[in-house]
Amino acid sequence: MKRINYITLLVAIALGLVTLAPAFAAAQTASVNTSAAVTAPGASVNTNTSITLTAAEKTAIGRGDTEITRRTAALTDLNTRIQAMQKVTDAFKAGISASITNEINTLASLKAKIDADADLATLKTDIQSITSSYRVFALVLPQGRIAAAADREVTIVSMMSTLGSKLQARIQAAQQGGADVTAMSAALTDMAAKLQDAQTQAEASVTASASLTPHNGDSTKMAANNAALKTARTDLKTAQTDLVAARKDINTIVTALGKVKATTTASSTTSASVTQ
């Protein structure tokens, strides 16, 4: 009798484990799903009441804030564009991004300092530093924009080269079919030359601008920087002109291929009709 009870008890325990196992597993899953409360740091507004500001001083601070906000927005937009670059190394991208981020942080610190200045002399110095810091902004922004445009141009060169290979295959097929491909071949050759030059010009624009450093008030260096940026800009425009020409070559080839196809189809139809 005791043995039977013993067996019944053990079986009951085992069955109980089987029954409770899913609930136990569910409880484990539920325990993982814990909510994380994120406490955002409170944004404190530093209201400086230790100095009395004149209307002119308030205007100066307002202009400073406007300029800092304008630069920050431009740099943030540039940083977004830099992240979308496709044909540069991650290290190159990170280098530009670091320069931009550093400038944004510097501007944020300057703005916070101006808002917290407790004496008029310091306030005056800080507002003047907005102008001096423009040297960095005036270089970093075009450097980044030139790099982004050059990257786009190299991307387009790559895409057009891929399409060019396909067009070449189609031209060869048309030639094997007996079509006159002289004009198409000429367009393809011109396209290849334009793409080669576009690639060269795009790379030159980055070479001319990427290594420039702020002039820090040195007028000779400032002139050299401006000249280098203009050269880079000219390179970009030349590359763009090349790409527009290459795009026209593509249209020329595609149109000609369409005519060959239409002629071939018409000939096939005529032959079939005559045979019948």
Binding site: A21, Q86, F137, A149, M159, L163, R247
Partner: protein
């Protein structure tokens, strides 16, 4: 003899309980998932090769439709280039807000 039978039943039931709760099941799942993951990775790689970036068609597709698709993708990038070059001009002609004190 009865003890042996009881013991076997308990072991079987406990094994069943563990499998049902996922402890043993996960061991089997791990191998199954690994086998499943490998083909998925291979599939992803094949898709990356077959679907070039920026809306271009497959590299080995020279059909009319593919050429049309590629041309459209290039035109999109050309429009982007116009925007990029306009931004270059803007950055080089930038003038700061006059500061005064």
């Amino acid at each position: 003899m009865a003890k042996w039978i009881i013991g076997i039943i308990i072991v079987v039931l406990l094994a069943g309980a563990l499998w049902y709760s996922g402890v043993l099941g996960n061991m089997g799942m791990t191998a199954s998932q690994t086998a499943t993951t490998t083909p998925q990775t291979a599939t992803t790689t094949q898709q990356a090769v077959a679907q070039p970036e920026n809306g271009m068609s497959a590299n080995n597709d020279a059909s009319d439709a593919a050429i049309s698709q590629d041309s459209a993708a290039i035109d999109t990038q050309m429009q982007g280039l116009n925007s990029d070059n306009a931004n270059v001009d803007s950055s080089m002609n930038d003038k700061q807000t006059a500061q005064s004190y």
